[in-house]
Symmetry: C2
Subunit: 327 residues, 2 copies
DNA sequence: CAGATTTGTGGAAACGATTCCACATAAAAA
DNA sequence: TTTTTATGTGGAATCGTTTCCACAAATCTG
């Protein structure tokens, strides 16, 4: 059975135009309104969103580009995005780049052309190519989790969070070390390291390159980097890690090598993921409001979609969650 | 600048028809082919997917309906789905039901009408209403993580996994208890409990209702249920939990109440999430191949999309990962 | 009471593609 | 040479909406 607007019009005894007006809230007489309503309910008619898009140029879809979905922080952000978009009647088109930078750029282009009304990009590494791509975009974009020039974004106070956590460590430590991540990730890499260094210098401690190392975003790597650090520097009495997962790996090494946490070495991370409560001892970390980052990003995008051109950059606060690993 | 197929046709000195054929691989002369290619490259033209859909009735989009995204198992499945769909040139439209059953049904209807070519439903609770909705669907569907009557699905051997893990516990236990989840979740609730009971009876042990309880899908709940169980039954020497997270909560209680794991109580879960390596001691669990469940679901859906009507039901195997909590 | 305004309706032209035809032309087969 | 086949091409209809426009009737102004 063919079920289009003409069919509904015929069954209701009105023109196609009137049905369309009924659907979009224009002038329609009371009786015709009733009749159309009945017909639509009986037939279960739903207008073709594709025809609507073709005519109006509005897709009611938002593209979400992300490096991977099975990550605590990212899935939490997506949950936040989803909650806001759903309420506003938008759907989420997911593009998983699997950490491939070129994929990211080509999705930007593809989405921008005709697939979506707006884009949320969960950023990891932003290159000059990204900046250029943003400018070429024909739909609004919001960057989440990284700061971006001249572009709306919602990001974390990575610097502040790292500094605060480090300061907490320094209350009972004289010789802290750092395990970070690649610095082309500005937020998790560069800013958190800056925070660590700032805390050191403000407390009159000298930053030493040899107490700092770089890991990948996983436990295994945290374990290995910790092993290296402590093999060379037995004097280290505190360890700040750029992510909780790295911290968990490091803790595993510490315990296996017979060190007590927090008595011999204090440990802290950033992110305050669920895993902080799973480790023994529980892990001190800075809470980063992933969900809120997602929902705020979506809210800003919605504002752009309704015509607001003003670029907004939101830096979210953090909370230090003190737990056993630094007691 | 207006950039549609007519514009390309004009610039290339051919008809709109020929451009369309160029795009879709029909008869086009060599010179015209070259010319069109040039023009498209220069202009950066990309056909409107919405116009294409309107005409051809193919959206190249797949709807994925899920209860929540920020869960280890589900985000892993989505990653699997995504990897297969992306390769096949499909996009993923995400619908997050936030565990609302009505939302699930209404998304099924909405998607089916005109939004997507096919649907993957990550199932938790399947009611008769679902069965009816599946039959009314106008696009193919694949159910992931639950078995579904007369419908293609990919699900886990929850029964077998639970039984195998329980049997492992029984090698060194005489008095095992069980913390499960709501049984209207057939897979994680009913089947895993069945597996537990089967292992008991095959080992000549009597199943006792008072050694079994039901928790929610989180740590907190696992902690509380464990507390209740052990308050009433000091004799329990092994604990099988329907999910890793519940097991982690239970372990927390056990340790806090001064019990040693595995010496006093052995513990095991199901799912083999990343958290199994984080707990102390590490947690024995059955690995459930979430990623593969997602990718297989997507593969079956693709087969349906290319015309294959045969219903396929795949039950995935499992692996028992022995760790310290049962040693 | 004439004119302006509000309220209600339908015809027809878009939006941007695909595809059924009809029709050429050139090469191969009879 | 004539007929068939393969190869190329364009015209026009179509998919299902929205929206501009013209117009009519009813209500409100002054």
């Amino acid at each position: 059975m063919l079920l289009n607007i003409d069919e509904i019009a015929k069954l209701s005894g009105v023109s196609r135009t009137t049905v369309s007006r009924y659907l979009n809230g224009g002038y329609v007489g009371q009786e015709k309104k009733e009749k159309i309503k009945q017909v639509i309910e009986k037939t279960g008619y739903r207008p073709s969103s594709y025809a609507q898009t073709l005519r109006t140029n509005r897709t009611r879809q938002v593209g979400v580009i992300l490096p991977k979905i099975n990550s605590d922080s990212i899935s939490e952000m997506v949950e936040g995005i989803s909650s806001v978009l759903t309420k506003a009647g938008y759907f989420m088109l997911l593009a998983n780049t699997a950490n491939d930078e070129n994929a990211e750029l080509s999705y930007l282009d593809l989405f921008s052309r005709n697939k979506v009304d707006g884009i949320i990009l969960i950023g990891t590494i932003l290159t000059p190519a990204h900046k250029k791509a943003f400018e070429a975009l024909s739909v609004p974009i919001v960057v989440a989790a990284q700061q971006a020039e001249n572009t709306s974004c919602v990001y974390y106070d990575d610097y502040g969070a790292a500094k605060a956590v480090t300061e907490l460590l320094l209350q009972k430590s004289k010789c802290p070390a750092y395990i970070g991540v690649r610095e082309d990730d500005k937020a998790a890499g560069l800013e958190r390291k800056r925070g660590f260094r700032a805390a050191l210098s403000e407390n009159g401690l000298i930053y030493r390159e040899s107490y700092c190392t770089t890991a990948s975003f996983n436990m295994q790597s945290g374990y290995e980097r910790a092993e290296e650090l402590f093999n060379h520097h037995k004097e280290i009495d505190a360890l700040f890690c750029a992510t909780d997962r790295i911290a968990a790996g490091a803790m595993l090494y510490l315990k296996q090598s017979g060190r007590r946490i927090p008595e011999d070495v204090k440990v802290a991370g950033v992110g305050d993921g669920k895993l902080c409560l799973l480790t023994t001892p529980t892990l001190t970390s800075a809470h980063l409001y992933y969900y809120e980052c997602g929902s705020k990003s979506a809210e800003i995008l919605l504002r752009h979609l309704s015509g607001d051109k003003i670029v907004q950059q939101i830096r979210l606060g953090f909370t230090v969650e003190k737990r056993q690993s630094t007691e």
